[in-house]
Symmetry: C2
DNA sequence: TCCCCATTCAAACGCTTGTTTGAATTATCC
DNA sequence: GGATAATTCAAACAAGCGTTTGAATGGGGA
C-alpha cells in the first residue's frame, strides 16, 4: 500500500504549511522533504488543493469528533452543564493535540490561519468542517445561558475561536518586553484561556436599546 | 506629483489583498486595477514587499496613534480608569475606520490575517507596529487590574486581539443556520465585543497551584 | 526654446509554479 | 512464472511571477 508515501506527503506538507504558509509552499519542497517524486502528489491526492484539504481532514476530523463526543458525555452525565464544562469540551481536545507533540502543535498553528484564509475554497471547506460542531455547541450554550439570544452566543463563539486561534498561533509573542517565550506549561495556557472565555461567555447580554434590527 | 499614482496603487493593492491575499495578488493585477504600468510599483515603492508594508502603514499608523491618543486623554481626565474605557480606547478607532466606508472595512479584514501571516518579514513588521501600543495598554491595565500579573494581562490582550480580528474578518459567519449575514449595525458588534472582552479581562486570576514556572 | 528631471511605458529577463505524460519499476494475484 | 495492476520516475509543458532595462513622454524653470 502506498499509504506510506501518502503519510510522508501529509507530514511534509503539514510541516511546511505551518512554517511557510499554503501558497508559499511548493509541491517540489513537499515532495523533496517527503523523499517522494514530484508526481506523487497528483497520483495520491489529485492536486495541491486536495492535498491541503487532506492535511486538515487528517487531524481536524478526529479533533472535532472528540469535541462532540465530550459534549455528549457531558450532556448525558445528568449533572448541571456549566459554561466551564462546555468550554473545556471544546478546548481540551485541541490542547491535548498540542501536548501530543510537535506535529500537533504545528497543526493547531495552522488552524487559525486557515479560517482567515482568503481562498474561498479553503474557507468553505473549513466552514464545512466547523459548522456542525459550532452549531451543536451553540445549541447547548443556548440552554446553559438562557439569558442570551442565539445570535449573542453565535458571536461569542466567534470571539472564542478567535482568541483560541491567536493563542495557538503564538501571534504577538514578540511584543512583550520581558520574556514569556517559554510558555512551557500548556495546561497553564488552557486555564488562562478558560478563565478568560468563560467570563466572556457569561457576561450579561446587552440591554435592548434604540432600534434593534437584528 | 505622482502621489496620485501611488494612491491608486495603494487602493488597488488594499482591495486585492483583502479579496485574494498577499501572495495570490500579482503586481500585474494591482497595476491593471490601478490603471498604472507594471513598473510603477517598483518606481514608487521599490518592491512588492514595500508596497505591502505601505498599504498597512497608511491606515495602521494613524489607527494606532489614535488608540494611544485616546488612552492618554483617558488617563489625564482624572476620573477612574475602567476596563471598559480602556477597551473602548482600543476598539473604537478601528470600528470608526470600519464605519468610514468600504475601504476601512476591507482594511480591518486584512489586519488579523497579517498577524497570523507566515512571512517572517511581514510578521516582524506587524509586531513593530503593534508593540508600542500593546505595551502601553498593558501598562495601563496593570494598574487598572492590580490583581492580575503582567503576564496574565499580556495573554488576555492577546486573546482580545484574536477575538477582534476574527470578528472583523467575519470568519465563520457562514456556519450559522439562520441569517446574521447583514450584521448591519457595527455599533452593536462593538458593544457585543466590549461586553465579552471586558468580562474576560476582568475575570479573576488563576489561583496559584502546583509549581508555577512562569 | 531648450534642457532637465520626474514619470510612464513596452518589452524582456530568468525563474518558479502546478500539472501532465509515458515509460520504467515494483508489487499482487492466478 | 507470467500477466496484471499499482506505484514511481524523469522530463517536459505552458503559464505566471517579481524584477530590470532603456527608451519615450511629459511639464516647469532658465
Amino acid at each position: 500500500m502506498g499509504d506510506d508515501t501518502s503519510q510522508r506527503l501529509l507530514d511534509a506538507a503539514e510541516m511546511l504549511f505551518a512554517e511557510h504558509g499554503f501558497v508559499q509552499t511548493s509541491l517540489r519542497a513537499i515532495t523533496t522533504l517527503a523523499h517522494a517524486n514530484l508526481a506523487a502528489v497528483h497520483y495520491h491526492f489529485g492536486s495541491k488543493d486536495e492535498l491541503t484539504r487532506a492535511v486538515f481532514v487528517r487531524r481536524l476530523k478526529p479533533l472535532n469528533e472528540e469535541r462532540l463526543a465530550r459534549l455528549t458525555v457531558l450532556e448525558n452525565s445528568g449533572g448541571p452543564v456549566t459554561v466551564e464544562a462546555v468550554l473545556t469540551a471544546f478546548i481540551e481536545p485541541s490542547l491535548q493535540l498540542r501536548r501530543a507533540g510537535v506535529q500537533g502543535e504545528r497543526f493547531t498553528r495552522l488552524l487559525g490561519r486557515a479560517q482567515l484564509e482568503p481562498s474561498e475554497a479553503l474557507r468553505d471547506f473549513m466552514n464545512e468542517q466547523y459548522a456542525p460542531v459550532l452549531e451543536r455547541f451553540q445549541r447547548t450554550l443556548v440552554q446553559t445561558l438562557p439569558e442570551l439570544s442565539p445570535v449573542d452566543i453565535h458571536w461569542r463563539l466567534c470571539f472564542t475561536l478567535g482568541a483560541l486561534s491567536f493563542a495557538y498561533a503564538g501571534a504577538l509573542w514578540a511584543w512583550l518586553p520581558f520574556k514569556v517565550r517559554e510558555v512551557g506549561d500548556e495546561r497553564w495556557l488552557q486555564q488562562q484561556l478558560a478563565r478568560f472565555l468563560t467570563a466572556g461567555l457569561r457576561a450579561p447580554p446587552l440591554e435592548k436599546e434604540v432600534d434593534m434590527a437584528v
